[in-house]
Structures are given as C-alpha cells and as structure tokens.
Amino acid sequence: MTAVVSEVDRARVLLERVVDPDLPFLSIADIAILRDVAVSDEGAVTVTITPTYSGCPAMDTIREDVHSVLAEGGFGEVEVKTVYAPAWTTEWMSEDAKRKLARNSIAPPDSVLAVVPEVLCPLCSSESVNTVSEFGSTACKSIMVCTECGEPFDYFKAI
C-alpha cells in the first residue's frame, strides 16, 4: 500500500513538469487541468484531465507531454482520461497560479460571480482599464488596455 501511494506522489512530481504551452509558467496542476492521478498495483498510471476551452489547441500537446514525462520517469503504462463534467472553471485555479499570472503581466481572473469583473492593470495596478476585445491571443484571454499607463495587456477571463 505504501509503495502505491508513493508512486502516485512520484507521478505527481513528474507531472509538475507538464506546463500549459500557452502559459509556460503554469503547470497543469496550477491551472487545474489535472484532476486526478491514480496508480494501479501493477504500476499503470491513469491521469485524468479536464479541458479548459472546447477548442483549446494546447490539449493535444498536454496529453503528449503527460505521456512523455511519465515514460521518462519509468512508468510503462499510461492512460490519459478526459473528463468533461464538471466543466473546467477558473474558480479552480490556486491563488499561487493567479500570482504567477500577474507576475507574467496577465491579469488573473476575478470570481465568475462578479457581475463586473474587477481587473487591475498587471503593470501599474491601476483600476482604470478598458476591454478592447473579449477574444484575445488565446481562447482563455481577452485584450484590455490600461488608461493610466497606456499599456495593453491580457486578462484571463473568468469562466
């Protein structure tokens, strides 16, 4: 039993190296795409993931990366299971992940319950910001601009 538990931990540590290719400073655990890791008595790993946006092109890369880091770590049999329900939400992101976003000049998501999301400019922390477009460089981000310092920036949409 102890051996099995430590194998799960070992798999989780390896999976820390799998990042979102569009946000390479966030691991799939940070962004909560990684939902579960299980290791059978025979050493087979089942990794459960939930896609962020329906058309997120990063998902294929993430699946491949999960396979390769676990193979490199000596796990022979790996299955990546995609689970749709419950649907992924930015509410699952850790506070640490949100801080990492802000440090990388991406305004982190506000609560999905906020009627008007509170967004601060990640460069000068001003509250006076405008939405340029709700559809940005990737499905998860919108384009905003700070009226204080004049810089355009990405906002990670609350969804």
Partner: protein, 255 residues
Amino acid sequence: MSTITTSDALATYVIRHADDNVVLGQRLAEYISRAPELEEDLAVGNIALDHIGVADHLFTYVAKITDDGRSGDDFAMLRSEREYTNLLLVEQRHGGFDDLMARQFLFDAYQLPFWEALSASTDETVAGIAQRAAKEAKYHLRHSSMWIVRLGDGTAESHGRIQASIDRLWRFTAEMFEADDLDREMAASGLGIDPSTLRSAWESTVDAVLEEATLVRPADTFQTSGGRSGMHTEYLGRMLADMQWLPRAHPGLTW
C-alpha cells in the same frame, strides 16, 4: 413501453449537433483575415475554434458509442453532404461581415439556451460537453449581439445592410425549433431536449437585440428546412469539398 434509446439513436442525435458546430466553425474560419479590424479577426478565429472544439468532443464521443473503427475525425471528414445533418442556417455562405454576424447572432441566440438545457442531459459526457459549451456560447452571444446593435444603430449603410442580412436568413430560423421523432425520443429519455421548447427564449433575445439595434423583426414568412434529414442548400457541398479534400486525397494523413 420499452425505451428504444439505442446507442444508434444517441449517436445520430449527437452527430446533428456536432455537424452544426463543425459547419459553423468552418464557415467562420473561412473569414479569418477578412474581418474589419484585427481584434475582430481574433474574435472570429476564437469563436470558430470553440465551435470546432465542441464538434471534436462530440464526434470523438460518437466514435466511442458507435465503436465501428471510425475515429471522430472520420465522422467530420469522410461523410458526404447528404450524410451531414446540420441546420441549414449554419451552412449559408456570407457575402460580407454583415451576413456573417447575422448568421452568428441568429444561431447564438438559439445555441445558448440549447446548451444550457442540454447541460441537464442524463448522459454524463453530453452534459459535460454542454456545460462547457454553454459558458462559451454566452461570450459568443454577447459578441454577436454587440455587433448587431453597432451595425443596426450605426450608419444608414450599416443599418440597411444588417437588416437585409437578417431578412435574407430569416427563412432558416424556424428549422432550429422543429422537433422530429428522434428529438422527442431523446427528450423523453432525458438524454436530449425538445428544440421547440427553446423558441420563446430565442424570440425574447432576438426581439430585445433587434429593438436596441433599431432593426425590424422580419415578418413570418416561408420557412425552409431539411438539414436534419440531409437535404441541404447548394452551399454545403462546396464548403465540405473545401474542408475535406486534404484527408480524402491523403487518407490517414496526420498533422
């Protein structure tokens, strides 16, 4: 009474909605680089990706249910026009941005309540995909509504053009709410929903946005349907030829 909800019926039902999404996604993708501004190009690309992503998840599920060796991509790429069961509205070609936005708006106003209702499906996978898609549909509807208002309540030129686009597409709107035997069977089993129940939500959205946009709701007139049984307008075949030629010319090709 025995429930005849076989996996075949579920697959046929899921394919319909995958078809709506892949066709609309392809139509939007055709427009990338032609939008009036860069931000709009990104928006059209993002929305196309959402639709294609939903279609991909649904087709992958269909492949799992039917389990006859076909992949999800095979359903998208190797079925011909008459095998496609999408709504006629989504296959309509666009002359310009006005047609594209009118088509998107009329569909978004249906698609949001559709996904919200389907989120309660008794099929866990269908419900999960629907929950995800409903969140995205909210953004799509907000975006297309904004454009309808901006164009309708804009210049005389933009007002006239968006009104003409809505008038042209109006005859494809009733089809969204037509329920056939399969819809009723799916609704009865809790797997799917009866589309006729979505009509009032659609009408209130459309009426409110048209009013804000100073546009007139077209008079109820002749309506065309047939998409769900594979009877399409002339535009789908050409669109599919463009979409499918690569995997058909090079079977088994991967990225």
